[in-house]
């Protein structure tokens, strides 16, 4: 059963999918494997040395995340367009209130060590991930489940999540804190993968050895050499795999680039030493589409960039002056100019708070004209705010320098603010992501700062609730609006058109308050070797690794 009832794709998603299909067809008959017989080629893809052990609940960075997504299968699998298909689950059925979900597993599902995938494999792994004693960084994903706190930890004093109940070997139930009609969409995320019994030691801890040589149930398994630190992770097809992402290639090698050096990786694709690089370095953005040494891909993507001006800052409070100034700043930023001149159109100016690749997305959110460059109105609004309280000082935007392209766009943006509003504005550099995030999470930051969001699962609500709901985990600007909270709650439980209407109303509130100023959607850009076929971006801006062939 396809869980997504949305078979119709929304505007941009359709275009994206259209070009994807074309790209995939461009390869022609891709089953014509050279050398004949079963000798399928191994594909080398860009990777970075994982920063955490390869345990599904322990890692959420791409270096470890990409291999894990290929080594494990969850209850559902994401299709290229972001809808889901049952993978290990035979069915996932809600009760009438959409609060209690009953999961039934397919028969004959096995881990690569031969042990069966049971209800316990899931529940035990999730309980492990949610228990803070185990120091798992992905616990956050369990927050919708009854028995966890706001950040997904088991509630104080409990060792297990009360919302999870094993019925028998093949069946368990998940009880949610509140109704959620698209809950199964979450279940393809890596935090929800199963872990075999052999992973745990006698004390019930996942062993260090397992973290280095994980045993999964996914399309691939580790080769003998497996994870070679600072070099590569090698994967080969799992012969027992029964799911929907059956590998078409002879295996994957995630080749590590020191310091995430996409520049070096780009050079490797050019010279035939790497097959796939799924993020084009800024230095190649102007040329990669005309580079005859590679195949280029450039499509709208799912990550969203914004500028957050906390309400704590003087002149930017939750009042008329603050609203005027936020709107003025938003209107003073010429987004198309930046996306063209700085990003060479590898970003698309934002017209809402979500992403154009999602079902239900529209560019007609009420009040989104505040995202259009309008120098006159910006000046007028700034002047009106000046009448309430005189502006003095400097408007500073903080960015972390270890993210590619951050410096360039922050500088361009503050220059536009200077020119349009005639105020003093400048970028402020933080060397690393964690230094910026520390000031942000400690609420000690005294400037505006760049923010971004990469969704965990393909739903517009995932771009709204976790960031702007009162007290939400990633609500860096401490935004709070009761009406917004209520609309999000209702949208969660609603379905179809009714749900999108509620989301539209919620977004209209954000357009007025601008808890974050939407900037642009990041395009998915990639280059591959000339002879690589089957490259398709999925909703996560990642290739469907199983479909790659040469």
């Amino acid at each position: 059963m396809r869980l997504s009832r949305r078979t119709r794709l929304a505007g941009v998603a359709l275009i994206a999918a259209g070009s994807l299909t074309l790209a995939a067809c461009g390869g022609g008959s891709d089953d014509k494997s050279e050398g004949g017989g079963g000798s399928k080629s191994v594909i080398t893809v860009y990777g970075t040395n994982p920063q955490n052990p390869l345990i599904p609940t322990a890692t959420n960075e791409v270096g470890g995340g990409d291999p894990i997504d290929n080594l494990f299968s969850g209850l559902v699998a994401y299709n290229t367009d972001g809808s889901v298909t049952n993978e290990v689950a035979k069915s996932i059925e809600p009760d009438a209130a959409k609060k209690v979900w009953t999961v039934t597993l397919k028969d004959g599902q096995k881990f690569t060590d031969g042990s069966a995938v049971t209800a316990e494999s899931f529940v035990k792994a999730w309980n492990y991930g949610a228990n803070p004693d185990n120091k798992q960084l992905n616990n956050y994903f369990f927050y919708p489940i009854e028995g966890t706190d706001d950040i997904g930890n088991t509630v104080k004093g409990a060792k297990t999540v009360s919302g999870l109940k094993v019925i028998d070997d093949k069946k368990f139930t998940i009880t949610l804190k509140s109704a959620e009609s698209d809950f199964p969409l979450r279940l393809g995320y890596s935090a929800y993968f199963p872990v075999p019994d052999s992973a745990y030691d006698s004390a019930g801890k996942i062993t260090k050895e397992y973290g280095e040589h994980p045993i999964g149930n996914g399309p691939y398994k580790l080769t003998k050499s497996g994870w070679e630190r600072n070099k590569q992770i090698s994967l080969e097809p799992n012969p027992d795999y029964q799911g929907v992402h059956k590998p078409k290639n002879g295996g994957l090698i995630f080749k590590f680039y020191a310091g995430g050096g996409t520049d070096a990786a780009y050079t490797d694709v050019q010279s035939g030493n790497l097959d796939v690089l799924d993020q084009v370095p800024p230095s190649a953005l102007t040329t990669f589409e005309s580079d005859d040494k590679v195949k280029a891909y450039n499509e709208p993507g799912s990550s969203f960039s914004s500028l957050t001006i906390p309400e704590r800052l003087a002149h930017f409070g939750n009042d008329e002056e603050g609203d005027l100034r936020r709107a003025a700043i938003s209107e003073a930023i010429n987004r198309p100019e930046i996306t063209e001149k700085i990003f060479n159109n590898a970003r698309t100016p934002a017209s809402d708070f979500t992403s154009p690749v999602l079902d239900g997305w529209t560019d007609k959110v009420a009040g989104n004209e505040v995202l259009k460059f309008n120098a006159e109105d910006a000046k007028a609004k700034w002047a009106a705010a000046d009448k309430i309280a005189k502006w003095d000082g400097k408007f500073v935007v903080a960015y972390n320098n270890d993210g590619a392209g951050n410096k360039e766009f922050t500088e361009a943006m503050t220059n536009q603010l200077k020119n349009t509003l005639g105020i003093d504005a400048e970028p402020k550099v933080y060397a690393t992501f964690d230094e910026l995030r520390k000031d942000v999470t400690d609420r000690t930051i005294k400037t505006a700062f760049r923010t971004g969001w990469q969704a965990d699962y393909p739903s517009m609500l995932n771009y709204l609730g976790p960031i702007y709901a009162t007290g939400a985990g990633s609500n860096d600007g401490d935004y709070s609006n009761k009406d917004f909270d209520k609309l999000i709650q209702e949208a969660s439980a609603a379905e179809g058109a009714a749900r999108y209407k509620l989301i539209g109303e919620a977004q209209a509130i954000l357009m007025k308050d601008l808890p974050a100023i939407p900037l642009w959607y990041q395009n998915a850009t990639a280059v591959t070797a000339k002879d690589l076929k089957g490259f398709v971006f999925n909703w996560k801006q990642k290739p469907d690794y199983y479909a790659l062939t040469k």
């Binding site: 052990p53 020191a258 690393t432 971004g452």
Partner: protein, 308 residues
């Protein structure tokens, strides 16, 4: 002589401790929270954060972090990186490639630099000297990242003479291009120093004496000029191995060399203090051994210096 070596090695102990202390102190002043790096954009609960921080002593003051570090270091146990790999293994994997790279750069630097510098010094203000000046000047003024990208593009991608990047399965041939790029940054120094030193020695008393004795020009240059001129050059080249290894950060990034410079840079970025210190400790060791070697070479080059 051996007594001298032993004494010098003993003196390195305070150097190690001093370097370790400075690093811990500096890294303590860094204001990030490494756990946030691990968590990415996702919120992380206080319990999990504290548990991870406790495991790596992240919240301890620098002196107690240093204490844990030294205690472990005595048994060559530098703890684990955040990804669970023993730091010692990380060093074992990344150290050889960087040492090879740095030695190759050193060799290129020494051979080319001393040769060109000597010729320039012997023909002071001649055509060769002026050309060498201009070229060394150009090399010094082009930032290494520009030079690296350009050479990679020309020799690796356009001409295909060599692999443009190195990667996990490195060979010495792969390292030639990065080694040249790395050497070039120091090259100008070596040329200038050799040139100056040679020119100066040409007019030194003992050289004049040698000439006066009627020695051939060749013999004078080889036995009297070069031998004395090389003292400052050897100092410079020798103690530079360490900075070559660290300077490899940028070269290693450009050419994807899985080396120690990069490992250290990554660890700094991720706030993995103990890993940084462990790696730098190894670099310090290289430095200490090299500077001991330099002092011993002094004695060979300059018979007036004797070690007792």
């Amino acid at each position: 002589m051996w007594w001298y070596v032993a004494k010098r090695l003993l003196q390195t102990i305070p150097v190690f401790i001093g370097a370790v202390a400075i690093l811990f102190l500096l890294l303590q002043l860094r204001q990030g929270d490494p756990v946030l790096n691990l968590a990415g954009n996702k919120p992380v609960s206080q319990e999990v954060r504290n548990a991870i921080a406790a495991q790596y002593h992240l919240d301890d003051p620098w002196y107690s972090q240093m204490f844990y570090f030294i205690k472990g270091a005595l048994t060559l146990d530098f703890g684990n990186t955040f990804s669970g790999q023993p730091v010692m293994d990380l060093i074992k994997e990344t150290f050889p490639v960087t040492v090879t790279l740095a030695f190759m750069a050193l060799l290129i630097d020494a051979i080319l630099g001393i040769t060109i510098g000597t010729i320039a010094g012997l023909n002071r203000n001649g055509f060769f000297d002026s050309t060498a000046l201009v070229i060394s000047l150009l090399l010094i003024s082009i930032p290494i990242f520009v030079l690296g990208f350009v050479m990679q593009l020309i020799f690796g991608v356009k001409l295909g003479w060599t692999s443009p990047t190195v990667g996990g399965d490195w060979t010495v041939t792969d390292l030639i291009l990065p080694a040249i790029v790395l050497a070039i940054a120091n090259f100008a120094y070596t040329i200038r120093l050799t040139r100056t030193s040679v020119a100066e020695n040409l007019s030194a008393d003992h050289v004049r004496t040698a000439r006066a004795k009627g020695l051939s020009n060749r013999a004078v240059v080889r036995n009297h000029v070069l031998r004395n001129s090389l003292v400052p050059v050897v100092t410079y080249i020798g103690i530079n191995l360490g900075s070559l290894m660290a300077g490899a950060v940028i070269t290693e990034t450009i050419f994807n060399v899985p080396g120690i410079g990069n490992a250290a840079y990554q660890a700094i970025q991720q706030g993995q203090t103990a890993t940084v210190v462990a790696i730098v400790t190894f670099m310090v060791m290289v430095y200490v051994l090299m500077s001991l070697l330099v002092d011993l070479i002094y004695a060979v080059l300059d018979p007036r210096i004797r070690y007792a």
